[in-house]
Symmetry: D2
Subunit: 359 residues, 4 copies
């Protein structure tokens, strides 16, 4: 399998390169960058010195119009850029995994939340790259929209309760925290060590662009769950899915940690809640459900493609608290992209993806 890589020098792209570097069944054959065109990869990214991909040179992005013998392209580009590149790639028969938000939402929803318009696109429909829900569609997908980091973690946290129909879905509160790599590599006062260390800061409160992505996946879940349109037994069946997402910057390099507050339709025991999650993810290699009451910890997932979840029931307020954590560059970006790659090309889904956290 030959891979073309776009955006290798951002945090997500470099992590994808790291994960691919030690595999023998794939070859990163081409790397695009206008800014670095002609520069040896190992010069811009010294950690790859001595590896095959370190020997390559960056190519100008216009070469993307004529890539020979490439099976799949990974795009880790700023929002808006993938839209312009993807059609020409697909036309050459190259399958695409896109890290950006360009193919995750209807265009009008994108414009409302990202604050900019996307170019038109009329190619094959993108498949949302969350294997825990869309595995079958990913197998045959030409274009996979790799999910957002907050979105991945929130969706995995909420899916079992929403799928089961036990949650009141119109007021799902998600209090989410992210490491600084989530803010990208470009220096700014907001990522300056002195401003971040020993502090916490909320941002985009109630306005984060991953909100509609989460709502869309959960709403599709609600629709799937409904056996028939006339299901009169379920009075809340048409309740909208509404998510309130609070995002906060933490003084850590990597990692997302969130708590989802889920009001329940009716009384539930802790055992039922725990079973619901264990059952839902029993076959999923990358989702770990902790024993009841053992809180998820961010350090358990850093460096891996895991999502660790702990469930907690607050009897007094009949609220389920779901705590979930991922590595924003692992399951939240590059790891998940590799997982999708494995699924798309019939490889073992866990190939090249660690389940043992760094310490």
């Amino acid at each position: 399998m030959r891979i073309a890589m776009f955006g290798a020098t951002g945090y997500g792209g470099t992590e994808a390169m790291r994960l691919l570097c030690e595999r023998t069944d794939v070859e990163v054959a081409w790397l695009g960058s206008d800014r670095l065109a002609g520069c040896p990869v190992a010069e811009a990214l010294p950690q790859f010195a001595g590896t095959a991909m370190g020997e390559l040179r960056f190519s100008p992005q216009q070469e993307a119009r004529e890539l020979s013998q490439v099976d799949v392209a990974l795009l880790a580009l700023p929002h808006g850029e993938a839209r312009m590149l993807v059609p020409t790639l697909l036309q050459q028969g190259i399958r695409v995994i896109d890290f950006s938000g360009d193919f995750r939402l209807p265009d009008d929803v994108y414009a409302a939340w990202y604050g900019s318009e996307l170019g038109a696109y009329d190619g094959p429909s993108p498949v949302y790259g969350l294997p825990e829900v869309y595995r079958e569609a990913i197998v045959g997908a030409q274009l996979v929209a790799n999910p957002g980091c907050y979105a991945t973690c929130a969706e995995l946290a909420l899916l079992p309760l929403v799928e089961s129909g036990l949650a009141l879905t119109d007021r799902l509160m998600i209090d989410a925290k992210s490491g600084v790599s989530g803010a990208g590599k470009k220096p700014s006062s907001g990522t300056h060590f002195v401003e971040v260390q020993e502090s916490v800061r909320a941002y985009k409160v109630g306005a984060h662009q991953h909100t509609p992505e989460i709502e869309q996946v959960l709403a599709a879940t609600v629709r799937r769950r409904r056996p028939c349109a006339n299901d009169e037994m379920d009075a809340t069946a048409d309740a909208p899915v509404q998510v309130l997402l609070t995002t906060q910057l933490l003084p850590v390099k990597r990692g997302i940690y969130l708590t989802a507050y889920v009001p329940l339709k009716e009384e539930m025991s802790a055992e039922t809640l725990q079973s619901l999650y264990e059952e839902r993810y029993r076959e999923e290699p990358f989702v770990r459900i902790n024993p009841y009451g053992a809180s998820a910890e961010m350090r358990h997932v850093i460096g891996t493609n895991l999502c660790e979840i702990s469930v907690h029931l607050d009897r007094r307020t009949q609220t389920a608290l779901i705590v979930a954590t991922i590595d924003n560059l692992g399951k939240g970006a590059a790891g998940q992209a590799i997982q999708n790659l494995n699924v798309m090309f019939g490889r073992s889904e866990t190939l090249g993806l660690s389940m043992l956290p760094w310490m």
Copy 2:
């Protein structure tokens, strides 16, 4: 004013010593510690070398039975110990500010949440040491129960909405994060640098002992607000106050940061919400309301006695998000104790308390 200090070597106690050290209107005249009895203060706490209190020696705690010429005692002791000491202090006419949870709750509520029984107490009623609510009672108090750190921050965040009667009070979600000094000075695997750095961990989910303290203060607020028992116009007047508090450990030394999710009874504009908070705290020297939309930041309050609050309205879910942050050793412990001391003894309330954060 002469002060006796108990528990000077814990984080809260040492911070109180630091705040008192440069004041000329008070004298720390006696320090109790059985473990360190006889030891010079500057030996156990070298930063006080060269200061008057550094010259003192720790005294055995049994001397507390006969303290001469002491006006007030600060108790920064483990839960349960203050209960045993306070009566003998009050009998000597010494006023007391207690940092622990021993006098904040009815005994049965304490037992339920702290998991241990307190000794009996039948002295003068303790006053809850939150000057923003109980200033007048604190002036004359013999015994002040200094609030818990999470409780202080949560109460200041929620008071305006609860007092105004605009909040649905039976499902108040508080997602709170704390620095490691909140876990105390005793080494444990949970405070080991390697386990904390680059991680986050929830603990006591839905079971933190500050929960009933917050509910109690807010419930009293609801009662105060009600003009008469027969107020039939307010159908929710008897709604219980129920708080769901999630607490999480962050890799920072000091600081509490929380988001409170408050469902609203009826539609409200952002302007109204903002005004509500600005009005409520207009005269309060230690509560800062950010301009609408400018998220509170933890680093703005570290080293101070401030509480910084930002309010955010989520129109879609009709939820108010209140973000609040304090220094857990400042407004969350020692700073607030000094503020109470100032109030009790007719000093300027801001004396010796910084409003300029460390950088």
Copy 3:
């Protein structure tokens, strides 16, 4: 005393403002900034909201040509800028404390180490603002060159051994580490949280511009020490002072920590070494000598104007190891500037300067 401030928004300048803010004997009366001209101070620096200086507005720097009723100017500007401003200030009878390197070195030495030429200057001689050596000259100085952060720490570490004539001065090795605020407020990849956290990086190895500053102060010390030019008993009297300074960036916000390796001319006991340091600094309020063997710790000085020193003798190699630490924004910049201000204007030298570290 009325103060004009230049460069208030950099880390050093803001810290000076913080230290001055709570003093009643001085008034920051004017703040210069071309970029922020007209902007209220509290808008650019919100922590000063509610203070007198927060009410001011920034003035264009050309107003510096005609400042009325200003006694002293603090300049916390980038290297090169102070050279241009200082003459016009001195001509108005305004005394100056300059934080930059513009007046610390002969012009040719400056050019060699800073890599740029300074404008000509022929006003009154600057006095090097290290009170522990030049206190008397500072009292009457019109222009004080506030020392560099590394230089302050290294000089205080080495002075006793160099003054005493017991050190071999031609190969003084200084291994120094600094917090990120030393790199300034401007965002860059080198100060990005993700690049700094969990890492260490040496920079300007053997080429740091504070090197000649240290050598100059120590060489002056050697000259002062020599009773006469013909002192034949001291064969090494003419040995040059040569310093090898290694500087390293640490994942902390503030603080300098260094180890100086000092080869000794002859055998020395640990007691002698310890006494030498204790005697030299006995009267200095801001230099603390630890008991022998108790290593200096950075956290003991953060937030203060202290320099903490521990001395260690390695008998096998006859080398003295001097460990010293300061807060780079305290004794290494703003704190020392305030100390100089106090000395220049006959105030108590410790006024407004903390000796109690943050925790």
Copy 4:
């Protein structure tokens, strides 16, 4: 290859388990622990849940007397314990890699620096497990003494200059810094997050137990280098090797970073110095020499088995500065043990060892 593991729950032992876990050519077949005897491995170390070694249970250490079908034992035990276990293992024909200091030094030197006596040992001579020097001996070794973390880094930094005879070896200054995992997993006030974060602290100044280990390796190098005992041309040939090692604790989880100050016998150019290092390590897979002047960075080696070195020449003082960094749990402990394992058993030396750092 079947492996028995002792001390799996310490930081070094767990890291070795992590490195071994994904290999298919080895099997961790037995884990010893008296404290955890009978406990499933995945219960004590949850990250191994779902792996083969996670399914095992800890065995009492006395079973070490009769281990069936074990080829090699890894011992990550506190100092002193390996001495007692190793003979019985060797007698069963089990080869041993010991992480501790028990077999690195002559017994009297050990006693002088570690402050305790070792039990007698008269088995086969241990081989010092630094493959870059002792690779051939390691191939056939029954017992490999895995080097100390500081020692590994210092030796790799100094070897080229000492082997070449160009260094003055009697006053080698090494200023070394370590992450907190180097202090072990046992909680103490010295590893409490609040005491470590935003601070630096020197410890065991000039007295660290890795000092004689470094001297021993370098002295052997000097001896090897000398062509004959009567080499009268080299007046310094008999100069002792003396190392002054300063160790400091940094607020990072993992990593060692050190600067070695090496006085040179005669003038040398930067090019010569650079070539010397490049030549020496040209064939070494785990030693990286940076381009001249590009300082080594700790983050480049974390998570790998690499040692990154940058060389710097200070012309004025004729001193070579060698900056070197390793991951204390990688090349400083578990990684190097696995490297030794690979050498001992004829595997590819880089098998299972990463050269791509975490980000």
